[in-house]
Structure formats: C-alpha cells, structure tokens
C-alpha cells in the first residue's frame, strides 16, 4: 500500500518520476546516528549497525515496500503445499569479500549455528524449524515442525544475515578479530572505520549481480549533534539524512531546500508503532473505561501535524497499517473529549494523579508528553510528568513502576513477529521493556495469537488477526499513538535509494547519483 507523503514531498517527487539510465561512479555521503557499536550484524542488531552493515552483509531475500519477497542471495524459492518445506535456490557465483566462495554450507552455518546462538529475535522464529539442510552447494531446505505464517518474512539482512562459515566456525564468535573487519557478500566492502569520524565502504568489484552496485564508495559520517547534522546537509558535507538524523522541527526547513527530496518509505518492514504503556495492574489505568477515555482524550491528529510534520499515520489498531493482516475494521478512537469525560464519570474517577514517563529520546518526545498531559488534563485527568533518563526509563518499565509511559517498537512485517509479544500473557515478566509490560491478560487473545501464528492460509490468519485487533481495540491494553514516519532526506539526484522495506539499510545496492 502506498504510504502518504507530505504534499511538499509529493510535489518534489513528481519531478523525479522521469527516470534516466543509471550511471556508475560517485560517492554517497551519509549521516550515521549514533555511531554503531559494531558492524558485525550477526552479533549486534541495533539500528545504526543494521543501517551500515545491511550494505556489507546480505540475507537470502529482500522485501519490497509491500513486504513481498525479492531475490537476494536466493535467486528463487519454493514453498510446499503443506507449508512445511521451504526450498531456496542460491546464486552460484557468489564470493565473500575475501574471495572465498559462498555456498549453502554458509547458510546452514549462519541460520542453524551462529544466529541461533547470537540472535534472540531470530531464535524465537527458528523454534518452529525442525531442520536446515543443504542437499547441494546451491540449495538450502528449511523443514518446519508445523506451519509458521510469518516464516517467509525472516530472511531480511538484519534478521538473518549470512555469516562466513570459513571465518567463524569453531571460534569464539563474540571475540573473533574478524568482527572489526566485517566480511560479507554484499555490494559494498568494508574499507575503514575511523572512530568518531567516519565509516568508509567501497564497491565490491566481484559482486554477483552484473553492473551493480553503481556507487564507488559510501562515506558514513559520524556527527553527534542534531543541529550539526542539519548544517552538514545544508553545507553539502552529506547528501543523505536517514530517518531520525535531524530533529523533526528541522525537517520542514531542510526539505524546502533546492534539489532536496524526502520520503517516508523504507520503514515498512519495521513498522515503528508508538503507544503509551498503560499499567493494567493498578491505579485508574487498571480500569478499561479509563484507558478508553485516554484514547478519546488524546488529540493525535495535532501531535502528528505539530510534532511529526504530518509524516506517519494515526495508529488505528495494535497492528501497523504497513504490517500484514492490518484491519481498520476496529473500534475507532477519534479526538472526543466529551466521550472521555462521560467514561471517566461512569467509572467514578476521583482525580487520582497518574504518572507519565516520557521517552527520553529528545525534544520531540518531551513535547509530545507535554501535549498529552495537556489533552488529558482537559478532560479532568491529573497527570504528573516524571523526568527520567534512558537508564531510569528502562528500569522503571522493567520494574513496572509507572502508570503511563511512551514507547515505540518495531513490528517486523508480521503480527506474529512484532505484535503478539506485547499482548500475550505468557510474555508478562519483569526485567524487559519489550514484552507485555502493561500486564494485559486475556485468554481469548492468547489463543487467537497462538492459532494465527501457525494457521496455514492467509485467509485464515487474516480472520484470526482481525478478531484479535477488534478485541484489543475494545480493551485498550495500551494507548496507541502514531505509526511513526521517519523521513529519509536526500538530494534529488540520488536515485533509487529507497526501494525496499528497510530503505537505506540495504538500499545502496541500487542507488546511483545522476550528474
């Protein structure tokens, strides 16, 4: 589905619709924020690592902006009728950056050995896998224990990157010296990393796809301050600002510059979904009517336009509209203070103060908390904002010591991967801020999520997820805010940068710079 662009961006994009032939050469100057702790994406999966390493390493598949699989290291694939056997045919002329050939043995090693040990999120998905085998050098077969709907969606580079067996087998993965000089199969090779300054990647001359990539090199500039990053773009030091590089307030000003394009595509796989945790265990937030009142009281349209430059969408349901099995056939919550007041009256809310934790990720989130506090105050809810830093925020959520708290999480394209974890009761455990932090328990919801994950047909899954979305929007375990739009800003003569569901994370393969 087509994501909404700002009118501004739309106007700018029209002029880029006429494509010329790609040209080779040139250097891309990109901001990376913050500096990644490592580029070894098999070990570290935070945002900046994926953004750089996604162009060094590769997965078996890529996904387009509708989350449909596209060939990458696998040139074709087959799924058996019963949904239990997935067979991938690999490209046969692929070399690692050090010249060794890439074969199916590397795939088996990566998925079955290396990542099972190092990659928590993938490990959960791989629990459905019975065996991973390599009948010949270019064929890999995944056999599942039972059907697992989202399985086709876990082959992206940040989720299942291919790791060189000849370098890592039998070594201590965490301390392998090769972690500092990553070796992948991707379109760009690691060249140098000057800590605090830049990371430089150069074209992989032996890349297996003819003619790709077009660019000679990529410079990732490390610039710690948001205002300096904006200036770096304005003065021409960098040409690409990936999502989240500059403060939202600066986006509009920069997007209005000459030869500047902006897009909020390239985040579909992540589907960043923001909400407020509402503590379902105690206090006023334990009452469903109070939680519904919060939804009615918030002016999310205002927050979107004033704080997010109209990028993104109002979150209608626990599932992002860019994630599979989204439905808008749910209970809707428009800004309606009167309804909120009526609900509060019905429950007999006595004005007890609720504590609100803002997300300590910068000015936008602080302002957002202030706006929500004001919205809630106008229907009579007393809110106290609790100031906190990142460590304190993590701790308070992990200890359930909050009433309401801002957050956003990724959805990874499928409700079974990125949505269920927030609402199923088996995921209630102290110590994490990524599980069922709100303490919502509903056996029906547990059952629906469990069935939907292993249902074979799409129709069946859709039906189950539709029902679960309807129940959740009635119970309001958390207060959904926005599907966040993280705009990528770039010079308009940089072409084909954002063509996939993970945007710049693997986008430089096809990008080229027009003269």
């Amino acid at each position: 589905m087509l994501k909404r662009l700002t009118t501004l961006a739309a106007a700018l994009l029209v002029s880029t619709a006429l494509h010329a032939e790609p040209v080779s050469g040139g250097r891309a100057n990109v901001v990376i924020q913050p500096e990644p702790p490592s580029l070894m994406v098999g070990l570290v999966q935070n945002g900046p690592t994926q953004m750089v390493a996604g162009n060094i390493y590769e997965g078996l598949l890529r996904y387009d902006t509708d989350l449909q699989p596209m060939p990458q290291l696998a040139k074709s694939w087959e799924v058996s009728e019963d949904g239990l056997t997935y067979t991938f045919k690999l490209h046969d002329n692929v070399k690692w950056h050090d010249g060794e050939p890439f074969t199916s043995a590397d795939v088996v090693f990566s998925a079955d050995k290396f990542l099972r040990e190092t990659h928590a999120r993938l490990r959960t998905s791989l629990e459905h896998v019975e065996s991973i085998t390599a009948p010949d050098d270019t064929t890999v077969v995944f056999k599942l224990k039972q059907p697992f709907g989202p399985f086709m969606g876990i082959f992206e580079v940040g989720t299942m990157p291919m790791i060189p067996k000849h370098i890592y087998e039998g070594t201590d993965y965490e301390n392998n010296p090769a972690n500092n000089t990553p070796i992948g199969t991707g379109p760009f090779k690691f060249e140098e990393w000057v800590k605090g300054s830049h990371i430089r990647l150069v074209r992989n001359e032996d890349y297996y796809e003819e003619g790709l990539p077009y660019l000679d090199e990529i410079y990732w500039h490390v610039i710690p301050d948001a205002a300096s990053r904006a200036v770096a773009y304005e003065t021409g030091v960098v040409d690409i600002l990936p999502g989240g590089s500059v403060e939202n307030f600066d986006v509009q000003r920069i997007a209005a510059m000459d030869n500047t394009c902006i897009t909020d595509k390239g985040w579909e796989y992540f589907g960043p979904h923001s909400w407020m945790w509402l503590n379902n265990r105690e206090g006023p937030t334990a009452d469903k009517r109070f939680r519904q009142a919060v939804m009615y009281a918030m002016d999310r349209e205002f927050a979107k336009s004033a704080l997010w430059n109209d990028l993104g969408k109002i979150a209608q349901s626990p599932v992002s509209s860019s994630t599979r099995f989204f439905t808008d056939d749910v209970n809707k919550y428009d800004h309606d203070p009167e309804k909120a007041k009526a609900l509060l009256e019905e429950m007999g809310y006595d004005g007890e103060t609720v504590r609100l934790l803002p997300l300590p990720y910068g000015e936008t989130w602080q302002r957002w908390a202030e706006a929500v506090k004001q919205n809630l105050g106008e229907v009579g809810i007393n809110v106290e904002i609790v100031a906190t830093d990142v460590a304190g925020w993590n701790q308070k959520l992990a200890e359930w010591d909050y009433d309401m708290a801002f957050t956003y999480l990724y959805q990874y394209g499928d409700p079974a991967l990125g949505v269920a974890r927030t609402y199923i009761s088996s995921n209630i455990a102290k110590g994490s801020q990524w599980n069922n932090v709100e303490g919502y328990e509903n056996p029906k919801v547990d059952e629906l999520f469990a069935q939907a994950a292993v249902a074979v047909t799409k129709e069946e899954r859709q039906q189950l997820y539709t029902e679960v979305q309807q129940i959740l929007t009635e119970d309001v375990p958390v207060a959904w805010l926005l599907e966040l739009g993280f705009p990528t800003i770039y010079r308009c003569n940089v072409k084909d940068l954002v063509t996939t569901a993970i945007g710049v994370n693997d986008g430089f393969k096809n990008a080229y710079i027009e003269e």
Partner: protein
Amino acid sequence: MADFWKRFSRNRGAVIGVVILVIVLVVAILAPVLFPQSPWRMVQRPFLAPLDMPSHPLGTDALGRDVLTGLAYGAQVSLLVGLVSTVAALLIGIPIGALAGYFGGWADDALMRFTEFFQTVPSFALAIVLVAIFQPSIYSIVAAIAIVSWPPVARLVRGEVLSLRSREYVEAAILSGQTSGTIILRQVLPNTISPIIVLASLMVATAILLESSLSFLGLGDPNLMSWGYMIGAARTVIRQAWWLSFFPGVAILLTVLALNLIGEGLNDALNPRLARKGK
C-alpha cells in the same frame, strides 16, 4: 529607616532595579488572574510569530502555547526558586559560620574544612549531579541550589563574627554570664545582618540563573513552566523561531540585573562607610 531610603535612592541603578523587580513580582503574583489559562494549554497554531495575532503578542511555541503566559508563570517559578533556595542556603550557612567564628579553635577548623570541601567542587556540576540523582523536581532543585550556595554565606558570617567576637560589648555579655547561644543570637548575629542582606540579594540572582541553567539542560521540574525550560525547549528551533528563546532570555536578564542593582544599592545604603565616592 528614612535615612536608609535616602541613601538607597541615591543610587539610581538600585531604584531601577527595584522598579523592575516589583513589576516581575506583580506579574508573578497576578499571573493566574491575568492569564487564567494554564501556560501548558495549546491555544493557537504552533510557531505563531510575535504580533501576528493581538491575542498572542509574543507568539506561540512549538506546541502552540502562548509565550506571554509562559513568561508570567515562569516568573513565579524563578522567583520562588530564587527566594526559597536562598533562605535555605542562609539557614545552613549562617549557623555554620556563626559557630565557627564564635568558638574558633578546632570547631572553626572542622567547620571551615567542611565548608571548603563544598567550595572546591564546581557548584554547577555539583548541582547537576544532585538533581540527576534525586530526580528533577522543584524540591530537588531548590535543595541542590541551597547546597551549592551556602559556603560563601558561612565564610562571610564567620569573618564578621570573628571581628565582633573581641568587641567590648560581647566580652561584657560573657562576663554577665549569658550563655553562648544567647550571645550569638542576641549580640553577635544582629550586627552581621547588613552584609548578609547584601549577599542574599545577589544569591537570589545566582539561584535564578542556576535554576534556569538546570532547566535549560532538561533537568527542570517537567511539570513547571520556567524560563530556563522555555529557552531549553526553544534551543532546537532557534533558527525557525527566535522569539521562543529571546523573550525568556530577556526576562532572566532583567530579573538578574535588577537583583544585582538592588544588591549594590543595599550595599551602599547599609554600609555608608563603604559607599563609593561620587554618588
């Protein structure tokens, strides 16, 4: 008293300072009457420039909140924090200084080393650490400012008490059998009041600056609209909306300037012997 006013008003700057401070005080006290709506209320579209709309003469901020309303309520916070933290600092500093100066010897040594311990730590850094540890709130901010600003009071009082200690009337009081406590409270301290008042007026100014700096760094009480918070929040948008940081900045400047002018005037009025020539 009339004499005091005569000497005070001879310093024109001090009179200007009083006028400014009175205006700020009146605005702070009358803020809920002049601006019945909360300063956090989003009243108009965001980033409205000054004078664009007569109802919002100083414009609106990133969330469409009225800047003028924010300034009025910010005056409350700034003055409150300035006064309360100064009183708290005096309550710590005066007893310590008086005891050290009056008893001398090992008591003096111990108390002054303790004071120096606080003086050697950069005060702003210490304030940041304290607020960060105790979570930012109006109470932790007042406490932090008081804790970093009492050492000069203690040293000043100690010096004054030391010189008064050997006066005849103090010795007479000792001979008449008064207890040390009575002597300090009834004989010594009343005579140190002038320099303390002068110092206190300057401390209020410093406290306002400290509170603003803390808020600017995001360590203010998140539920109170203060001038420092307004500037801190406006910092990221300074190129689009200069007025958001300009007006609160002017407010801080004028208030602190007023307090400094008053302090100087008080100095002239209370210490006629020290008054500079040509006034």
